[in-house]
Amino acid sequence: MSERAPRVPRESGRFNPREVLAAAKEAAVAALVALGLFVLLIGVRTDQGPTGALVIRTRFGALAAIVAAVFVGRLVLALARHDARLSIGRLAPAALRAALSGLGIYAAAAFLAFALIVPIVFYTDRYLLDLAILIVTYTMLGFGLNIVVGLAGLLDLGYVAFYAVGAYSYALIAQHFGLSFWICLPLAGILAAFAGLILGFPVLRLRGDYLAIVTLGFGEIIRLILLNWQDLTGGPNGISEIARPSFFGLPFNSTAHGFAATFGLTYSPTHRIVFLYYIILALALITNWVTLRLRRLPIGRAWEALREDEIACRALGINTTTTKLTAFAMGAMFGGFAGAFFATRQGFISPESFTFGESALVLTIVVLGGRGSQLGVAVAATVMLGGFEFFREFEQYRMLVFGAAMVAIVIYRPRGLVATRTPSVSLGARTDIPAAIAGGARTETPA
């Protein structure tokens, strides 16, 4: 890179040496920091030797590779700062946003249409059907949490607790009273909503970040109780042989009274999978419909107002405690439905399925999707879970990617994929409100 090369018109890469030097220095510092960070934790691996004592072996190759990667990455970033054409960071989200909010309603319709025909298209691929069920389940959980986090602006880190309450309620009621899935499902939802009310009542007065920690605490308490109350929950062994849902009383099995025999079909285990898929799809769509409907009602508007400015809400005569409580209970109820579905689909549940990691996953889906956006949540659930499956070999890295995604999203795209907000009511034509103005952007200066 010579000082001035006017005769060689290179589009990108005309840096002056001072910039290059500064960038190199920046990269060197970053590499040094990386060396400090990784020298022991990556450079040296500890394992238990044959005697049980720890032995170490060095991995300087890996260390060098990572430090070099940091150097190069930092160098490219630093140079990119000087050249707008190289700034990938800005281009990608803008394109995505245009794609998503420009298409808006069409995208949602296409997405729904695709969701409806998934079992037909992939009928023979059991693996993909299972994945689709998983994605829709998390979409539903995302919708439920979206009411709490996206609309009401309450950060709930223990959402999995309601998922667990729903799952265990279903499993226990079905087991002890022999009731069918269709009776247990609403009961599970109601019990979860009830749990939401009980847990929410004392804590919803708390400030945002305290609330987050308390909900995390509740999530863990519920998991620990499930783990230790052996008589009721089976402890770490969980509950197995949970009743499967039937098609209006027809079980999915190969007997003469089964679904296949009644409709004159050849028995196939896929029938049940397809049936499950449509159940969860219907549940998710109901959740979506209710949420959209609520947004246009006074309660939904109050939730959003609460997110924007709680003090103003109180000055307008809104009882913020009950308003928060309804959001909490509503979110919990949908979590409970999803939990009941999870139990019936798996046929087996144990506390392991309800760890903080699950709460974090659902929260990431909501944050990535754009707090408050239904389409965003569905897309985010598809991208995240689809991505996990796609990179299955790298399973041990998946939580790592997950954490990195959370950090990257809040920094580069704090409002998520779909960052606009559609007004709940309007006099003229509805136009979306850009992210820069929409709630949460307001800076709260600490007192």
């Binding site: 934790l41 500890t46 708390l206 970040d209 305290y210 990431t364 890295y397 949460g440 709260e444 600490p446």
Partner: protein
């Protein structure tokens, strides 16, 4: 009676470790008003760094335990402080102007990253270390129970209190401490008065992480085993300690830590060991609801 005294000693030792971690929560909360959710995992990184540093020293032939531990302490404080600095720089600084939820979500992301990074780099299995500091004193002889104060317990408590004293001096008497207190009062005003706010915040994270590293080393010595998940529970308990003592207050963090340590130990000793973590979470919730300003905290008046 003897049993009770023994539990008190154990509780204070455990509480000292929580107190050291709690200081990190309290300082960060005091200055930028956010819960550094990743702090528990910084503690875990500190414990791992200490473990590996010790093993490397042994491999290099440093056999005198006191010397080795001293070097380990310095190395792990330095490297863990670097983690504290990096976390703040990457995940929190860009969000200084945003809503309250954004840094919290970012912090949760960081916590997940740190946990899984250590899991990937060092494996998910627990890492045992044979006891390095052994011996102790028998204080009381009961009929069938002797109260013992082990050397490691003395080391933990003495180190903690020495650091606590040094740290209080730092905040009360030095220029850095004054800058920190100024930032705590009003970030914007501090910046206008010529205080390098970014630097002060960075240093707060660095100090918090260094103290967490000490806690990590103490944990390693005391329990003789670490894994990548210890940061989560220890973090929650230390946070509870910080809130119980009064968030923003240094003596409060220490007091809260010791109280939590005692409650946990006594709970396990007299009630049920299975539910000891439930007790920790329950205390957190009860304190936040009924005593949100803590024992030594200042009452907060809502800005309208």
């Amino acid at each position: 009676m003897e049993y009770f005294v023994q539990q008190l000693i154990n509780g204070i030792t455990l509480g000292s470790i929580y107190g050291l971690i709690a200081i990190g929560y309290t300082m960060v909360y005091g200055i930028i008003g956010m819960i550094n959710f990743a702090h528990g995992d910084i503690f875990m990184v500190g414990a791992f760094t200490a473990l590996i540093a010790f093993l490397v020293l042994v491999a290099l032939g440093v056999s005198a335990v006191p010397l080795a531990l001293f070097i380990v302490l310095l190395v792990s404080m330095a490297l863990t402080a670097l983690y504290g600095w990096t976390v703040e720089r990457i995940a929190y600084r860009p969000l200084r102007q945003s809503s309250r939820l954004a840094p919290l979500i970012s912090a949760i992301g960081m916590s997940i990253i740190l946990q899984n990074y250590v899991q990937v780099a060092q494996g998910a299995r627990v890492k045992p270390l044979p006891p390095l500091v052994s011996g102790g004193y028998t204080l009381l002889h009961g009929n069938d129970f002797a109260v013992r104060l082990s050397n490691i317990q003395i080391v933990v408590v003495v180190t903690t209190f020495a650091l606590m004293a040094g740290f209080s001096f730092l905040v009360a008497r030095t220029r850095l401490g004054r800058n920190m207190r100024a930032c705590e009062q009003d970030l914007k005003m501090a910046a206008l008065l010529g205080i390098d706010v970014d630097r002060t915040i960075s240093l707060t994270f660095v100090i918090g992480a260094a103290l967490a590293a000490v806690a990590g080393l103490m944990f390693l010595l005391y329990y003789g085993v670490v894994d990548f998940f210890i940061g989560f529970l220890a973090g929650v308990k230390a946070f509870t300690a910080a809130v119980l003592g009064g968030i923003g207050s240094l003596p409060g963090a220490m007091l809260g830590g010791i109280l939590i340590g005692l409650i946990e130990t006594l709970w396990s000793a007299y009630f049920s060991i299975e539910y000891k973590d439930v007790a920790a979470f329950a205390i957190l919730i009860i304190v936040l609801i009924f005593l949100p300003t803590g024992i030594l905290g200042r009452p907060e008046v809502e800005k309208v």
